[in-house]
């Protein structure tokens, strides 16, 4: 009986309480502390399906922590995070189901250095989802082509540039066929000339209708690609709005000061 409920969780669970016209991600009063340090102090926002959301703000304002909470890499102390209607802050959460839905790309790429680019992309679908290897390989090759890395399938991460590694990391996340992609300062560690190719890949993903949450310091890119921009400082959302309005008519003095420093 309990097995049945589990196996249907992905299909039946969210559908019962969630439909695509509702927010795909919904945060309510999220609090997160590391020991005595409170990093998030009551964050709430919604993301709709297909929306591209950028989170900007000074370092240490809790941006990275925020998106790590969305796929359960960090747990939260208080509040609620719902992904397709499924509560992330729930001890009985089916982590596998959540992580199939939510992909994340990190600042430091974190590719598996002992595996080739192709193997990096194939590993999770083959080993975790137990999908047939041939099918996965076909998909993985297509994904590597999609991020413009044809011919690099058999290269090890150490043989690739930062920008190339980051695009393999994006392909690796996409191989799980997620509904949502999280990008945690993915261009912060890159050379200026390789930033462009990574941003191009993200822009294409956004254009295809992928729901994306980006933590970024690339203001120009945020302005161009985002549907909505959030500015966080010291664990709270200070101000948010559509990019045109946000970047030109910011009301809060903290936002204005931050923008004057980075623009």
């Amino acid at each position: 009986m309990s097995l049945q409920i589990n196996s249907n969780a992905r299909e039946a669970g969210p559908q019962a309480s969630w439909s695509p016209d509702m927010p795909i991600i919904s945060l309510r009063d999220v609090h997160k502390s590391f020991g005595a340090v409170e990093v998030l102090k009551g964050v709430s926002f919604d993301v709709r399906k297909g929306e591209v959301v950028c989170i900007i703000g000074p370092s240490g304002s809790g941006k990275s922590t925020l998106i790590r909470c969305i796929n359960g890499l960090n747990n939260i102390q208080k509040g609620s995070i719902k992904v397709e209607g499924q509560e992330v802050n729930d001890p009985k959460l089916d982590l596998l189901a959540l992580r199939r839905k939510v992909g994340i790309v990190f600042q430091q790429y974190n590719l598996f250095p002992h595996k080739t680019a192709l193997q990096n992309v194939m590993m999770a679908p083959v080993l975790v989802l137990k999908e047939p290897r041939r099918e996965v390989e076909e998909r993985a090759r297509a994904l590597i082509a999609k991020v413009r890395l044809e011919g690099k399938e058999d290269a090890y991460p150490g043989q690739l540039s930062g920008g190339q590694q980051q695009r393999v990391a994006i392909a690796r996340s996409l191989a799980m066929r997620p509904d949502i992609m999280l990008f945690d300062e993915v261009t912060a560690a890159l050379d200026p000339e390789t930033v462009k190719e990574v941003l191009l890949t993200i822009r294409e993903l956004a254009a295809e209708g992928m729901t994306c949450i980006l933590v970024t310091h690339e203001m120009g890119f945020a302005r161009e690609v985002a549907d909505h921009v959030y500015f966080t400082d010291r664990g709270v959302i200070v101000e948010h709005g559509p990019p045109d309005q946000f970047f030109t008519k910011a009301k809060d003095p903290r936002t204005r000061q931050f923008l004057s420093q980075v623009l």
């Binding site: 890499l73 999770a124 989802l129 990391a169």
Partner: protein, 279 residues
């Protein structure tokens, strides 16, 4: 006395400087010293025509000593296999998320890592029964060399446990993050992502400990195990215990162990260098 000699060796080697401090030229000096001592011994043993020279005695007893050396090798192989098996297990327990598993593993590791090998050897020798009575009435006698092998495996096991723990901890946290975000469980992450990366890092120190283990096996002679050093001593006794035997016999033993361990040390150094570049 021999125990002390080995403690000194351990301290020197344990720093990881084992490979970097030796050079093939040092091996040459050793070989030269050996042949030099043969010449001296030969010169000294001239006046007694009735008794054979030290060299001839050594050659005569060579098969006996080499047979003993075979036991040194066997003990080192078995002890290393046991140590690796249990050491890896202990190392994994040390990083367990359960305190109940972690604490005993930590205790065992540090107990055997910080005791003199000779003391462990004595403890095992006197704690292990020399025979096991089977329920059916038969008995299995445990030979001394088996006990000694088990004793040697314990400190090496503890050190391998630390190697494994250290190697796992040296893998960047981001590897765990990305594996977790791709829905790998903790066990799958260890199996497919963390441990394969650890093997490369762990092999040079693992080989280092093998070398130390093989060099420690003559300690078993104190307890009457018939390995190379014990047999050489027995041979000297049997041939009349003449003082001029000492230098050629012991130098021969030095050369024997050197010839076996030194290539291992060279290979370890090569692997270490290779992995430094690979990382």
């Amino acid at each position: 006395m021999k125990g002390e000699a080995f403690r000194i060796e351990r301290r020197r080697f344990a720093e990881g400087g084992f490979c970097s401090r030796i050079h093939w030229r040092q091996g040459m000096w050793l070989v030269l010293a050996f042949f030099g001592s043969l010449a001296v011994a030969y010169a000294q043993s001239e006046p007694q025509p009735a008794s054979p020279s030290a060299i001839r005695t050594l050659v005569l007893w060579l098969p006996f000593i080499l047979k003993g050396f075979g036991l040194n090798l066997l003990m080192s192989f078995i002890a290393m296999a046991v140590a690796t098996l249990f050491g890896v297990g202990l190392g994994l327990l040390q990083i367990s998320r359960s305190r109940l598993l972690r604490m005993p593993a930590w205790l065992v590791t540090h107990l055997f890592r910080n005791s003199p090998w000779l003391v462990i050897l004595f403890v095992i020798m006197f704690l292990m029964p020399f025979e096991i009575r089977l329920p059916g009435g038969g008995t299995i006698i445990i030979p001394d060399w088996v006990k000694a092998t088990f004793a040697f495996s314990l400190p090496v096991m503890a050190n391998i446990s630390e190697i494994v723990r250290g190697a796992i901890n040296s893998i960047p946290k981001g590897q765990w993050d990305s594996a977790e975000s791709l829905a790998f469980s903790r066990g799958q992450t260890l199996r497919w992502i963390i441990l394969p990366q650890c093997i490369r890092r762990a092999i040079p120190p693992w080989m280092n400990w093998y070398a130390l283990l093989a060099l420690a096996t003559p300690m078993a002679s104190i307890l009457g195990v018939r390995e190379a050093v014990g047999n050489a001593q027995a041979a000297m006794e049997a041939a009349g215990a003449r003082p001029e035997f000492l230098i050629p016999f012991y130098l021969f033993l030095l050369c024997l162990f050197f010839a076996y361990i030194y290539p291992i040390a060279l290979l370890t150094r090569k692997l270490e260098r290779k992995y430094v570049f690979a990382n």
